[in-house]
């Protein structure tokens, strides 16, 4: 089957998920991102790669960090950026997703960056563009439901590579609410594709998908055991707003068993790095002492996120 994310000659057409994306493309994105990290230090913080292109940030769900870093990335590439917070506009008046998109295409969109609460919404958009002969317009998934958040996964990989260089010697633990986390799915897909020999997930049973082992991970319910000797700790946010029903007794109890404290982190490798996609719930999944500590690389993640998003957008512009 043809991967809808790739052109016939194997270039990136859309970025919808990291699942099934070849290692060569993942590595290429990380390689291309590297020189973009320097742009912020220049007199003119701009490159001309997306000059004259219109990038529409269409967010059907709230976001600050992701939307802002996409906006900065597009602007550093000289694109015109239009931000739409659709949760407060037409759809609330009853317009369908595809009608909204058709209208934005009529306004001259070249690229959509889309976040949606429903898994698969960016696929629907990509399919619709193809079916209506507008294949030259690219779609970047900025998070869809519980499914995927590919640029977050990529910036995490960039961060890991920056600090640890070689993926093939690492033990990585993904900790927390895997069940509701699109970030976890993208991270695990990328880690396994890039050749990390041991990916662990650490979570209570109620916060794991039933078929989690099929993703090629080792499952731990005990955090102390799971953290032993790991090189990278990838924390997940406890998704309060996605939590339906009583999956957890209380956030205090969650912190006691699955919150990352200095004591628990001491079980990991001495030079282990701690990642978190943000926004953090201090005192729920992560202790402030760790979040602000020497092992945390949470703010560099944000900075690298701009370069990685620049890489994705310029590759899409080149591929289409």
């Amino acid at each position: 089957m043809l991967n809808p994310q790739l052109t016939q000659d194997g270039r990136l057409r859309h970025l919808l998920t990291l699942d099934g994306l070849p290692k060569s493309i993942l590595a290429e994105i990380l390689d291309i991102a590297a020189p973009f990290t320097d742009v912020a230090e220049r007199e003119v913080k701009k490159l001309p790669l997306l000059r004259g292109k219109s990038v529409f940030n269409v967010f059907f769900e709230n976001s600050t960090r992701t939307r802002t870093t996409f906006e900065i990335a597009a602007k550093r590439l000289s694109a015109d950026v239009i931000n739409l917070n659709v949760s407060t506009s037409s759809t609330s008046k009853g317009e369908t997703l595809l009608d909204t998109v058709d209208n934005l295409c009529a306004m001259g969109a070249d690229m959509f960056v889309m976040r949606h609460a429903s898994s698969g919404a960016p696929y629907l958009l990509a399919q619709h563009l193809r079916a209506t002969g507008r294949d030259h317009i690219s779609v970047v998934n900025a998070g869809d439901g519980r499914h995927a958040h590919p640029t977050q996964g990529l910036l995490d990989m960039y961060t890991i590579r920056h600090y640890k260089q070689d993926f093939t010697r690492l033990t990585v633990a993904v900790v927390g609410d895997v069940l509701h986390s699109r970030v976890a799915r993208s991270e695990i897909a990328a880690l396994t594709t890039l050749g990390v020999p041991e990916v662990r997930v650490i979570a209570p049973k109620t916060l794991l998908p039933t078929d989690v082992e099929r993703m090629g991970v080792r499952v731990f319910h005990n955090m102390e055991e799971g953290l032993k000797g790991v090189d990278v700790v990838m924390m997940l946010r406890l998704q309060n707003e996605r939590m339906q029903g009583a999956l957890l007794p209380s956030s205090q109890e969650y912190f006691k068993f699955y919150g990352l404290t200095q004591e628990k982190l001491a079980l990991a490798a001495k030079d282990a790095i701690v990642l978190h996609p943000g926004p953090m719930n201090r005192g729920v999944e992560i202790d402030s002492a760790v979040a602000d500590g020497a092992n945390a690389v949470i703010l560099p993640q944000v900075t690298f996120g701009i370069a990685v998003r620049m890489a994705v957008m310029s590759m899409l512009a080149a591929g289409n």
Partner: protein, 165 residues
């Protein structure tokens, strides 16, 4: 075809440039052949200012068809504002690389002047660009399907190579 000896050309270029070098002059080489030439000039001329390098991939007008592979970091080690710059490339052809390099340089600041130095001019310009320093001009322009490039061996010796597509 007979190509000139690239090692002789680089020494010719050193002599051409020598009078134009001031302590503040910044030499910038364009990846990858131009950077090799720039490195040689920088060493032979004993230039005090550290060497700069550019990868103009992000500034090319044809990046969509060439792709973004193999791009490297551009390094401009000093403030470019008000400085004399000598931009170095191995082969001068359409002038598009030079145009891209000029655009990138101006994103770092406003130099006082920029001169272009090349090892060899193969003809076929598509833009109004000329080199102030040029060690050799081919008597007849190479046809567009030919690719002229600079090679450097492990001992640091240069040679020119023509490939026809």
């Amino acid at each position: 075809m007979n190509l000139p000896d690239a090692n002789q050309l680089r020494d010719l270029l050193v002599e051409q440039i020598r009078a134009a070098i001031k302590p503040e002059t910044l030499i910038i080489g364009i990846h990858s052949g131009g950077a090799w030439v720039a490195e040689y000039l920088h060493r032979q001329l004993g230039v005090a200012t550290p060497l700069g390098t550019l990868d103009v991939a992000f500034y090319r007008d044809d990046y969509a068809s060439r792709g973004l592979h193999k791009s490297r970091k551009s390094t401009i080690p000093v403030d470019i504002e008000g400085r004399d710059v000598i931009l170095v490339d191995d082969v001068l052809y359409s002038g598009r690389t030079t145009r891209a390099a000029l655009n990138e340089i101006f994103d770092y600041g406003r130099p006082a002047r920029v001169d272009l130095a090349v090892l060899i001019d193969r003809g076929g310009r598509q833009l109004p660009i000329a080199a102030r320093f040029c060690a050799h001009v081919l008597a007849a322009p190479l046809p567009p399907e030919s690719k002229l490039s600079l090679q450097r061996d492990d001992a640091g010796n240069f040679s020119l190579e023509v490939k026809s597509a």
